[in-house]
Structures are given as structure tokens and as C-alpha cells.
């Protein structure tokens, strides 16, 4: 890879853009700088030739964006976006100035709160068995037969899996419905192993504590059945692109 430029985020002209002390990506990071694009600015640094999605570099990207978001509205780039050079950046960003300007307006004064939920497995299995007499009877029968034959177990397990998936859908809906009043909009995140809900909420900064308290309330009422983890304030990764469900 020849010389190229690593992009962190896009900010408005009025963003303070205090970049000293922010560490960039790479083993020996170069300084962050801005590239003007119309009335916007792109925060960049020279890309190290060995740029990889290493923990160090992903962490640096994230930390730089956190620092920029503290100062003012910042559209976070996805990790690892590289451009050929400053001229190309200025040209391409200026060409979509209105789109980025609208996105910056959308996130101004707001922040991303991410919520992930995981079921306690024994608890959710008890739940689906108690909700469905047929499943409960099948479970008893297989247990009486020391687990039963392979095909019966697969059939039973498949029905349990379907019931759990249904339960996950319901519980996701219940959590989102309970948190949505505290947010401006929300966007579902990528599916993750062992996590039935991965959802990000765009929250007014002044409502962050309320949102956190709401999530805590849900976590408390459902304690032992599901675990709710809240992360944030985060750079608004989930609201820097396509518009999704609004609240």
C-alpha cells in the first residue's frame, strides 16, 4: 500500500478541532490534521503502511473519535477508511457536502448509547418450557428415556430453539419499547453470538443519565432472566450513515 490518508471523521467548520494530544493509528502515529472540504473539515492522519484492524489501531480510532465528539458534532468514519491523499478527500467530501451536513445536524447535541441483552440460558429455557405444555411434555418424555434417540432429541431441540428465538424477538421488542421514549431514534446493530439484542439509540446528551437509569431499571426487573449491558456515550457510529427506525 502506497502513501495514503486515514480518515477519522467529518466535522463542521465551527468544530473546535483541537487535535493536539490525540493519538492516531499506527505503531508510531503521525499527528492528526484537518482537510478542509467546502465548509466542513475531515480529520485525518497519514496512514501507516502496515495498517491492520489491530486492537491498538481500532482503539486509537475510537479514542480519537471520542475526543472529537466531546468537542462538537463529529461524523465517525467506520474503522479503516483510506483515501489516496488530501486532494481526493477535499474533492469527494465537498461533492457530498449536503449529505454530510444533514448527518451532522442529525447528531448535533446527541450521542449513541448501545444496549446489548443476553438471556440467562437456563432461565429462558425454563420460560419456553413453561409457556408450552407440548414442549414440557416432550422434555419429560425424553428425560424418562434418558435423553431419547438422536432424531427425537434433534426434533425437540429444534422446537426449543424456535421457541427461544420467538422469546428473543418478544424480549427485544419489550426492551426497545421501554427505552425508545428516552431516545430520538434507534438502529439495530449486527447480530452477535450469545446476544439477542444489539441496538443503538441516538440520545440527546442531556437525556443520557435518564436513558442509563431506564436501562438499569429494566436490568433490575429482569435480573436473573436477562443481562442488559449499556455502553455510551459513544461516537454515533450507528447514525452516521443510512437512516433506520425512528422513535
Amino acid at each position: 500500500m502506497s502513501t495514503s490518508t486515514f480518515l477519522y471523521g467529518i466535522v463542521s467548520g465551527s468544530h473546535p478541532k483541537k487535535l493536539t494530544g490525540i493519538r492516531g493509528v499506527g505503531r508510531t502515529p503521525g499527528p492528526l490534521r484537518t482537510v478542509a472540504a467546502d465548509d466542513l473539515a475531515v480529520v485525518v492522519s497519514d496512514a501507516p503502511s502496515d495498517i491492520r484492524p489491530k486492537r491498538r489501531d481500532v482503539a486509537a480510532h475510537h479514542a480519537a473519535l471520542e475526543a472529537l465528539c466531546e468537542q462538537g458534532p463529529t461524523l465517525p468514519m467506520r474503522f479503516g477508511v483510506l483515501a489516496g491523499g488530501d486532494d481526493e478527500i477535499a474533492r469527494e467530501v465537498a461533492a457530498e457536502r449536503d449529505r454530510f451536513g444533514d448527518l451532522l445536524t442529525r447528531i448535533a447535541g446527541r450521542t449513541e448509547m448501545n444496549v446489548k441483552a443476553t438471556h440467562d440460558e437456563p432461565a429462558v429455557l425454563r420460560m419456553v418450557l413453561h409457556e408450552d405444555a407440548t414442549l414440557l411434555a416432550m422434555n419429560d418424555e425424553l428425560r424418562d428415556r434418558s435423553g431419547g434417540d438422536h432424531d427425537s432429541r434433534v426434533r425437540f431441540g429444534e422446537q426449543v430453539a424456535a421457541a427461544v428465538a420467538e422469546r428473543e424477538r418478544h424480549d427485544s421488542g419489550a426492551i426497545v419499547a421501554a427505552l425508545e421514549p428516552f431516545a430520538v431514534e434507534y438502529a439495530e446493530g449486527p447480530a452477535l453470538a450469545g446476544t439477542f439484542l444489539n441496538c443503538s439509540f441516538l440520545v440527546e446528551r442531556e437525556n443520557v443519565e435518564k436513558f442509563r437509569a431506564a436501562a438499569k431499571d429494566i436490568g433490575r426487573v429482569a435480573e436473573g432472566y436477562l443481562d442488559l449491558r449499556t455502553r455510551g456515550p459513544l461516537p454515533p457510529y450507528s447514525f452516521a450513515g443510512v437512516h433506520t427506525g425512528s422513535g
Binding site: 491492520r52 426434533r155 427461544v164 446493530g189 450507528s238
Partner: protein, 157 residues
């Protein structure tokens, strides 16, 4: 599942971002979300993207079915509390308003959750309840609420 739950327990401790601490729990946001400009290239994420894609594959396999079947067989379903684990508890929450587990809750979110949860549980056994748009196609607007419930604090604009 054990590993997942340990990770979950660790994650619940972390409130504030902070780049060093628990990047794992938001890695997919940094790698899969955020702004992309089509004409620019992107660092190859070989190896990392597989982590999240695998999640979708694991869900529906024979191994999972067998594991679920065995886990169900192992459950102690005789414990008195089991039968009422959540529909019961959460039912109490909605009946008694702020009593029970939501005591001290200030946001109304616990009540909304309990209500939605209970409705979902009841609907499983009652096909006549028409509430189709309630569960999950991403475009929900306001949560359906029972008249007697406390409304959660409307704090958004």
C-alpha cells in the same frame, strides 16, 4: 454460553466508553457501522469480520438443537420458583404498579418492559390477540400501553 455470560458480566461494569477498557463489547460498531465513502478504500478486515458473521451461522445447527435438548433435560423444573420465574413476577409488577421489583424505579421503563413482556407471554397462548406490529420489525413507533399503566417519562423532543 459460559464465556458469553462472563463477557456480559464484565461488560455490565463498564459505563463509560474509554478506548482501553472494554473495546470488545463495541467492536462491531467500530468495524461495521460508521460512515463509509464509496470511492475510498477500506483496510481489509479478514479474520475480524468472521467473528460477527459466525454468530449468524451458529444459531440454527443440529449441534445447537442437541445442546438445547440436553440443557432442557438437565433443568430442575420442580423448584417452586421456576413456574413463576418471570411471567409471574412481571405480572405482579404490572398489577401493583410501582410495588415489587420496580420499587424505587424512577423512569417508568421497567413498567413498560414488564407490560410488553407480559403481553407477549399471554399472546403465545391466545391467537386472537391482534397486536401484529408489536414485535420487532424495526419500525415501531409508540409502545402500545394499557390504560392503567404509568406512562414512561417522555423525555425525547
Amino acid at each position: 454460553m459460559t464465556a458469553v455470560k462472563q463477557e456480559a458480566a464484565r461488560g455490565s461494569q463498564v459505563q463509560r466508553g474509554g478506548s482501553s477498557g472494554n473495546l470488545y463489547d463495541i467492536l462491531e460498531l467500530i468495524l461495521d457501522k460508521g460512515l463509509v465513502i464509496d470511492v475510498f478504500v477500506r483496510v481489509s478486515l479478514v479474520g475480524i469480520e468472521l467473528l460477527t458473521i459466525d454468530a449468524r451461522i451458529v444459531v440454527a445447527s443440529v449441534d445447537t438443537y442437541l445442546r438445547f435438548a440436553e440443557a432442557c433435560n438437565r433443568l430442575d423444573l420442580t423448584r417452586a420458583s421456576n413456574a413463576t420465574t418471570l411471567p409471574g413476577l412481571l405480572g405482579d409488577v404490572t398489577e401493583k404498579g410501582t410495588k415489587g421489583k420496580t420499587k424505587g424505579a424512577l423512569t417508568g421503563a421497567a413498567e413498560t418492559f414488564a407490560e410488553q413482556f407480559t403481553n407477549a407471554s399471554k399472546r403465545d397462548g391466545d391467537e386472537d390477540v391482534a397486536d401484529e406490529d408489536e414485535a420487532g420489525n424495526g419500525e415501531r413507533t409508540a409502545a402500545p400501553r394499557k390504560a392503567r399503566s404509568r406512562r414512561p417519562a417522555r423525555s425525547s423532543s
